[in-house]
């Protein structure tokens, strides 16, 4: 059952894949959230700049977001503007590792960590 209070809570779903973004957004709307769909990080920052009433409660973001900023970089930018805002990063381990590698100066990517020695 939809919670009327929850209807006032806004969530941004940021994903570069339109089909995934639509599926997640539709589900969250069905749960009673107001959802704003963003296809890249710049869109999220536009929404943040327009959120003077601070009705935005969370950002659900693909870690491997396409464009100039991936999910990790977007999270860092968002936290500088709104430290209170929840940012949830999602994605496959491999995609998340690749996205993290882009942000890091030096990184070791392991496909699967099996032993401490390998790490």
């Amino acid at each position: 059952m939809e919670d009327p209070e929850r209807e006032r809570e806004h969530i941004v779903v940021a994903d570069s894949d339109v089909l995934i973004r639509h599926a997640i957004s539709d589900y969250l709307r069905h749960c009673g959230f107001s959802v704003i769909e963003a296809s890249h990080a710049e869109d999220v920052l536009i929404i943040l700049a327009d959120d003077s009433g601070q009705r935005l409660k969370a950002i659900l973001c693909d870690a491997d977001l396409q464009g100039e900023m991936n999910g990790f970089r977007l999270r860092a930018s968002v936290k500088k503007i709104r430290p209170d805002l929840h940012v949830i990063l999602s994605g496959s381990i491999e995609a998340a590792a690749n996205a993290a590698a882009i942000c890091a100066k030096k990184v070791l990517i392991c496909g699967a960590l099996t032993t401490p020695k390998e790490l």
């Binding site: 339109v18 089909l19 957004s25 709307r29 769909e37 296809s39 869109d43 929404i47």
Partner: protein, 166 residues
Amino acid sequence: MPRCDALPAALIWSPALRGEPMRARSTWLSKGEHVSVQKPTVLIVEDEILIRYVMGEGLRDEGFDVIEASGADEALLVMASGPQVDIVLTDIRMPGSIDGLGLAAAVKDIHPSLPIIVLSSHLPSEPVCRADRFLQKPVLFLTLLDTINELIEARWKIQKESGSTS
């Protein structure tokens, strides 16, 4: 949050529409022949997130299912992936491999009867021959809604007639 007054040149929202819920759905239900029919699905193709959001939320409030695409490439992916779309609303100037006019042509090649509305603040230099309607921004939401309802109703009428004669 995105507000209507944040969209000066794109879409004029009429707050009075808020008191007229589920216009699209009640239009079909009042005819007594589409009671079990799903809500019409509108594919919005617009790269500016605030315009896309306000337009999408407005149409959802009016009883439509809405799919939001941020460009023509995403729209073609949606069209190829199966969700039934009843009407396409597209901006002209968008980043990507093709613009809104190219999208209209590509969609009409595959789905000749699918209604397409082109919205833009600029009059197109070439005729919008593949689109069913052209609306110049800023557009009243009521005008947009009436145009959508008119085109969907006309399409459903044609589909019903062709179905009954076959």
